[in-house]
């Protein structure tokens, strides 16, 4: 169905040896997933059980001043909590009572484990069970870990969604489940395209509200919209649902192949598929072509951050004409990003995990035209003359599917266009 004039893939990167180095990492921990999840799940509250550092991280990562009162908070562990675990459970009950009194609108409460709560082995599963009984039916209490010793950045969303799967009601309905927190506008576009092909019913995890009619069972098939949802994938498989593997829906090609995998499962006629996708595909190609002018022939280097790196490298090399030097990801789950690796031409170093100083050495030696990295590295690299793209924007900005394909390319071309635009030599 995708008769696209693409570059030969020269075999793909699925079997390319992966460079694994172990050292300091420059990546957020999984707690930061809360920042977009609390906007997505409108009746949920995320309570981190952690230290002052966790609270400080969340407000720094949230840009300090975005929300008057966000639907997340921290129960800060104090010396007395560290002394005995029984105490900590009682203390937690008190904090949750205080919270639910203050916010009676909350229907789902997530107890989020952090590094300190993991190290002292505070049993949040037990706490969640107890509180669910106590506050049922108005509030459902779940737990997951966003700790930096267990998770990096986007894995927090994975851990959260995975925690929701076991409590989903059983259903035998034949249905499509879209998995991953997307901006509403993007989610609606995807559903619109699929419904136009006659596919349905379509459900979404996470649902915006707890009372959404969402179940799972052996007749459920699911498509992941984000490449970092490994645990959620496993949890859904355990519930009998079946995964539809595909490249991730970034760019025109990724979106088409992702839709095609679903269309094929639901027996959509090729004519109908073509009819539904032709116009948006043409729009996407045109928009990408415009933004990609600045990217064509330029080199790119990915520091590990969001786990979107491999699908994005596929998009940028195949659709925008870039050359990938290194594609680093915090974790590589071949079961999920395999189809993207197949399409990524061999050549770049594929690296997993990080020793940041060594990777910086490689990046500086390679002098890429564009470096994708976390916020801690961006300005220092700019100061050394490297144009950078903050990886975090790729998580917050609508970048999936056809109508955003041009914007996605634009996110990468902007730093390069800016570098060309500024004439600061005289001022320096």
């Amino acid at each position: 169905m995708t008769e696209l004039p693409r570059l030969p893939t020269s075999g793909g990167c699925r079997e390319t040896p992966i460079l694994k180095q172990r050292g300091q990492r420059e990546v957020f921990c999984g707690l930061t997933g809360i920042i977009w999840l609390h906007r997505k799940m409108q009746d949920a509250f995320f309570l981190v059980i952690g230290s002052r550092t966790c609270a400080h991280l969340l407000q720094s990562a949230a840009g300090v001043m975005i929300f008057a009162e966000p639907r997340f908070g921290t129960a800060i562990l104090e010396e007395t909590d560290l002394a005995g675990l029984a105490d900590a459970q009682d203390e937690l009950d008190k904090v949750v009572d205080e919270l639910l009194t203050r916010r009676p609108d909350i229907k789902q409460l997530f107890l989020v484990g952090s590094c300190p709560s993991e190290v002292i082995k505070l049993d949040l599963a037990k706490a969640a069970e107890r509180m669910t009984q106590r506050h049922a039916p108005s509030v459902r209490v779940l737990n997951f870990s966003g700790s930096g010793i267990e998770t990096t950045f986007t894995q927090g969303e994975d851990a959260c969604l995975a925690s929701m799967v076991p409590v989903l009601p059983e259903t035998d309905d034949r249905q499509l489940l879209l998995v991953g927190a997307l901006p509403d506008v993007v989610e609606e576009q995807a559903i619109g395209l699929l419904e136009a092909m006659g596919i349905g019913p379509i459900k979404v995890l996470p649902a915006p509200r707890a009372d959404a009619d969402l179940g799972v069972g052996k007749n459920t098939v699911y498509a992941l919209t984000q490449p970092f949802l490994g645990d959620t994938h496993d949890a859904l498989t355990r519930r009998g649902a079946r995964h539809l593997p595909a490249p991730f829906p970034f760019g025109e090609e990724g979106t088409t192949q992702w839709l095609a995998a679903i269309a094929s499962e639901f027996g959509v006629a090729p004519d109908l598929f073509e009819q539904v996708t032709a116009a948006p595909r043409a729009r996407a190609r045109k928009a990408i072509a415009q933004a990609a002018e600045a990217l064509n022939g330029k080199s790119i280097f990915f520091f590990p951050d969001s786990q979107l790196e491999i699908p994005l490298a596929r998009f940028l090399t195949r659709e925008c004409g870039m050359e990938a030097i290194e594609v680093g990801a915090p974790f590589i789950h071949k079961g999920l990003v395999g189809p993207d690796l197949d399409l990524l031409a061999t050549g770049p170093t594929i690296s997993e995990g990080q020793d940041v100083d060594l990777q910086l050495d490689r990046a500086k030696a390679a002098k890429p035209d564009l470096t994708v990295c976390g916020l801690g590295l961006a300005n220092p690299l700019e100061a050394e003359g490297l144009a950078t793209k903050w990886a975090i924007e790729l998580v917050f900005t609508p970048v999936h599917f056809y109508e955003q394909a041009g914007d996605l390319a634009g996110l990468f071309s902007r730093p390069i266009r800016r570098a060309a635009l500024l004439k600061l030599e005289a001022a320096e």
């Binding site: 906007r39 002052r52 190290v119």
Partner: protein
């Protein structure tokens, strides 16, 4: 366990990072899990620094916990030394590493690194960011500074400025100029701008200027005792305080007091006729102790405001802040609970808040203008222009910063004459709220609403039975927005004191007459 929404201070190891990042040729080896590297972005993004903070994190993971985190620490420390070749290393643990009890300080000492290695004890579950900065600087000074011969000319050390400090960069320049005008040159500025080698020669100065007690008081006391260096107690923020500072420096140094006031504009601006409308503006002050104490004096003596409430989040400064509040007939709010500060502001209904980014946030929610006077700060508080708080220029900057939100209020007041005009109707909201009506969130999501209160009564009246009658409520809306809160509060107090259950238009005007001066 304590429920927190926003925090005023980070953990103590962030304080240590502020010291390390301000310095050169010093490296911090921090035993910490991978997520703790978030702190780097405070410096590279919020402060827009062009270098990574000089911190190596050991980045341990769950699978390391049962095994060998200690060895991980040693490898990281050795790698950091080999790569960065610092003159000295500080070592410590973040909150999680503290729990696994590896003793980084002890391990680093056994490694035999060829540079001084300074262990930090920063109890994460008891203390906070300012303590971390103060303690770190103290330990560095204690280890490296030695008694030595004084410089021939009179010199001073400026102590306290750190990375991520509120206008520290510009305050250094301002204080340097104040001292230079008196014939006193600077020996060392620390921690910001200094290297360990510079710390080692701090003993050559005749005295210390303690710029920020939050971050350097322990070091100042130690140097007074061990190096026989007195330190200044006045922080030169505001005109009066700057004059007192000059007098104090003269007394310590023996040099003649001199202050060049040719660029000083605050006093005249304060006296100018259009400043009349500033008279008695009701302000609430909150932030770190140093800036709040300075602000209290400026607000009452140099701006003619009425300070209706004040407080600080750092308990280390509770005593002087309480004393100053008492002197002004107030009870200080000493808390690090954001929600408590919000409740106090809601009850007081000031006309302006002078606070931190947190209070700016509260102000936005309650529709009260706010100027930022203290950390915690945001990227906008690191302006490209010169914008000190200390000295003569600092006083000028403060006048502008504080008056601008109120000038916008004056604009609104004038526009009020055209209140029936379609562009200036009441619901349009004041222009300094950035086009947003109060209590509308910036991201378009549902705005968190203040606790529902009958008839919009202020906090302390919630449980009473005072009700605003429709006519009175309508009349209240005719009062310019920036005095409306005061009018509402005064009327409610007036009614409550007289046992009046319903506020009519007459009650409103009786109250107005009662409070008229």
């Amino acid at each position: 366990m304590k429920l927190t929404v926003w925090t005023y201070e980070g953990p103590p190891h962030v304080g240590a990072m502020r010291v390390a990042t301000g310095m050169t040729d010093l490296h911090y080896v921090l035993h910490a899990p991978q997520g703790d590297t978030y702190a780097d972005l405070l410096f590279t993004m919020i402060e827009r620094r062009d270098h990574r903070p000089p911190v190596t994190y050991t980045t341990f993971q769950a699978r390391d916990l049962g095994a060998d985190t200690a060895n991980l620490f040693k490898t990281a420390a050795q790698d950091a030394y080999d790569r960065f070749k610092p003159q000295a290393i500080i070592v410590g643990a973040s909150c999680t590493a503290e729990l696994i009890q590896d003793d980084p300080g002890g391990m680093a000492e056994t490694m035999g690194l060829p540079v001084p290695t300074i262990p930090l004890e920063l109890p994460s579950y008891q203390r906070k960011e300012n303590f971390g900065a103060d303690e770190t600087f103290f330990q560095i000074v204690k280890t490296l500074a030695k008694p030595m011969a004084r410089t021939k000319q009179i010199t001073a050390n400026l102590i306290g400025p750190t990375a991520l400090g509120f206008r520290h960069r510009d305050d250094i320049q301002e204080v340097t100029a104040l001292l230079s005008d008196m014939g006193i040159s600077i020996n060392v500025v620390a921690p910001m701008t200094s290297s360990p080698a510079d710390i080692a020669r701090m003993g050559a100065a005749h005295f210390n200027v303690l710029m920020y007690p939050e971050t350097a008081e322990s070091a100042a006391r130690w140097m007074e005792r061990e190096l026989d260096q007195p330190y200044t107690k006045t922080v030169p923020i505001g005109v009066g305080a700057t004059r007192d500072f000059i007098a104090e420096v003269a007394a310590i140094s023996g040099n003649e007091a001199y202050l060049d006031t040719s660029r000083l504009r605050l006093p005249w601006y304060s006296k100018s006729v259009d400043s009349t409308y500033l008279t008695g503006k009701r302000v609430f002050l909150f932030g770190d102790g140093t800036h709040v104490l300075a602000a209290a004096r400026i607000a009452s003596d140099e701006m003619g405001f009425e300070v209706v409430g004040m407080g600080c989040y750092n308990r280390e400064m509770a005593r002087p802040v309480r004393a100053k509040a008492k002197e002004m007939g107030l009870t200080a709010t000493i808390t690090d609970d954001y929600l408590e500060v919000e409740r106090v502001i809601e009850a007081l209904q000031p006309e302006m808040i002078l606070g931190t980014q947190m209070e700016r946030h509260i102000g936005k929610r309650l529709g009260i203008p706010c100027a930022v006077i203290s950390a915690p700060v945001h990227v906008q508080d690191f302006p490209a222009r010169y914008s000190p708080q200390m000295g003569i220029e600092g006083a000028n900057v403060i006048f502008d910063t504080w008056v601008h939100p109120l000038v916008m209020g004056l604009e609104e007041h004038l526009l009020h004459m055209f209140r029936e005009d379609f562009e200036f109707h009441d619901a349009a909201g004041p222009s300094h709220h950035g086009g947003h009506k109060p209590a509308t969130s910036v991201d378009g999501g549902p705005a968190p609403q203040p606790a529902a209160s009958p008839g919009g009564l202020s906090g302390e009246m919630k449980n009473g039975s005072v009700i605003w009658l429709a006519d009175a409520e309508k009349e209240l809306k005719k009062i310019p927005f920036f005095v409306r809160g005061k009018a509402r509060r005064n009327t409610e107090v007036f009614a409550a004191e007289r046992g009046v259950a319903e506020i009519s238009v007459d009650t409103l005007y009786e109250a107005k007459a009662h409070y008229a001066r």
